[in-house]
């Protein structure tokens, strides 16, 4: 766990978005914007991911999928809601099948507004998420240290 703090991996899940934000997320990872220079990498496997990018609102069917993906990710983890639909539900808020933004299902750390969210905004969101991720892993490391110390003390006594 100690060595991965500087290069978190991204997992992208398309909630019920219109695809606009999804292709902007993809555009972020391709040469013109190139989010990979920030040390993040796109992955398709939730078990190896550290940052979850959710686009689009939550509907009754994908709620379980989003929850499951979130649970499969190892701690510490950060969630970024990309686009106004993932933040609040957006234009589709009044639709009969939309429950609301991503925060109705999982805790969201960074909100990226926009319809569709611009790549620059998404990059900003990713940078913020990397910051939060680093902070969380530091806290986690400190906790582990604390525990080890306590265990040592316990052994000595």
């Amino acid at each position: 766990m100690a060595n991965i703090t500087r290069s978190p991996w991204l997992l992208h899940y398309d909630g019920s978005s219109c695809n606009g934000c999804d292709i902007e997320v993809l555009a972020c990872l391709t040469p013109v914007y190139d989010a990979e220079r920030l040390g993040v990498m796109n992955t398709g496997d939730p078990m190896q991911a550290d940052i979850l990018l959710v686009t689009g609102g939550i509907n009754s069917q994908n709620q379980d999928t989003v929850k499951q993906l979130y649970d499969q990710m190892p701690r510490p983890k950060v969630v970024v809601a990309v686009g106004v639909c993932a933040c609040t539900g957006g234009v589709f808020k009044d639709c009969y099948n939309i429950l609301g933004g991503a925060d109705t299902t999982i805790p969201v750390d960074v909100y990226v507004p926009g319809c569709a969210a611009r790549p620059q905004a998404i990059m900003d969101g990713i940078i913020k998420a990397v910051g939060i991720f680093q902070q969380r892993s530091n806290e986690y490391k400190a906790q582990v240290k604390e525990k080890k110390k306590a265990a040592k003390k316990g052994a000595q006594n």
Binding site: N19, C21, T30, P31, N59, N62, Y96
Partner: protein, 360 residues
């Protein structure tokens, strides 16, 4: 007979950024049957007609799909204009055509990139998306939005493209054409691309007809069907022939879409040359629509179907979008039968899936 088992494909899958779930019944490595289950992105935007009036619906309709957003808005507006019985100004027609073709280019480039990614040609994927950014810059320059640019309204368009921007569009078209010619060589002549695409997922003309497939997917099997021939927007004033291929395999679908990119460049050039120098952008719309109309437009993915029914109130009674991908799902299931499991990802890609418009 081998052992039968069921392999789930999706909803979260590396090859597709979007969620679709298909249960694949496989026998050893061969797919026997494919049963799709959709609904991960179902929002129910058709139900919004009760809460939004017919002008506001334009914005909702544009968000059916972020890739062919402009064309969705155009299809809806044309349908409502038909009910009103108004004829929009010529300049607005040409502007719609230019935006529609720019949108088609960005969609096809996106698809070619994803296809390259699908068979593991990362370099080509990045090339396509690099060129696509140029097209997106055009959209941003002319309208202010990269993907979803609400320039349509019932009765015309909201923004004008001034003459200097038209010039920039033409120079960008030249640049993009050069790049495309380079890419075309790789897509059409590269040995590994050919061996991956040729003869995979063949559908015949009869099968296409029976399954009601549309768009480049149908045209790749030799069906001459291009809704632009219906003559909406400025297409009656432009010269084009539907591009078809007879083979019906993945390679043919790639061929059709690649050639359509060149066709779009040609159409944009024609439209820029023929656009009236000045004129109104929209006609005034008075009152509320009353009546019904079935409108068909050709989107990057095929024929989109709009059904609008109104009864003289601001809110429509019914607005129905039948997107091209929804029409292509039966074709996809048929195509998946009797293929190798390893080809499934590629085959799903070749219908140009856009799940958010499939499920609305």
């Amino acid at each position: 007979m081998g052992k039968r088992s069921v392999i789930p494909f999706g909803p979260q899958h590396p090859v597709l950024p979007e969620p679709i779930h298909i249960d694949l019944v496989v026998e050893d490595e061969r797919v026997i049957e494919a049963i799709p289950s959709i609904g991960f992105i179902h929002r129910g935007l058709e139900g919004l007609v009760d809460k939004r009036d017919f002008n506001q619906m334009t914005y909702v309709v544009e968000r059916t799909c972020g890739i062919c957003s402009f064309q969705h808005g155009m299809g809806y507006c044309e349908a409502v204009e038909h009910i009103f019985g108004v004829d929009i100004p010529d300049r607005a027609k040409f502007l719609r055509t230019i935006w529609a073709e720019i949108g088609r280019m960005h969609s096809h480039l996106l698809w070619l990139g994803l296809l390259a990614d699908g068979f593991g040609f990362e370099n080509l994927f990045y090339q396509c998306w690099r060129v696509r950014e140029k097209v997106l810059d055009l959209q941003e320059m002319t309208s202010g939005g990269r993907l979803i640019f609400s320039v349509n309204k019932v009765g015309g368009v909201m923004k004008d493209i001034p003459a200097d921007m038209l010039k920039i569009i033409l120079t960008t078209m030249d640049e993009v054409e050069e790049e495309l010619k380079e890419m075309k060589k790789t897509f059409f002549n590269d040995y590994s691309v050919q061996s991956r695409l040729k003869g995979v997922g063949v559908l015949t003309k009869e099968q296409i007809n029976r399954l009601g497939a549309v768009g480049p997917f149908a045209r790749a099997s030799g069906v001459v069907s291009d809704m632009r021939t219906l003559g909406y927007a400025a297409y009656p004033m432009l010269d084009f022939e539907p591009i078809i291929s007879e083979d019906g395999d993945c390679y043919a679908r790639c061929y059709v879409r690649m050639q359509e990119l060149f066709q779009s460049i040609d159409l944009i050039r024609q439209a820029v040359a023929k656009i009236p120098a000045e004129g109104d952008l929209a006609v005034a719309i008075k009152g509320n629509p009353d009546g019904e109309y079935f409108m068909r437009v050709e989107q990057p993915r095929g024929e989109a179907f709009y059904y609008v029914k109104a009864n003289g109130k601001p809110n429509l009674q019914r607005m129905r979008v039948r997107t091209p991908t929804f029409a292509n799902v039966p074709g996809l299931c048929e195509m998946l039968k009797n293929t190798e499991l390893a080809d499934v990802g590629l085959l799903v890609l070749t219908i140009d899936p856009c799940i958010s418009c499939t499920e609305r």
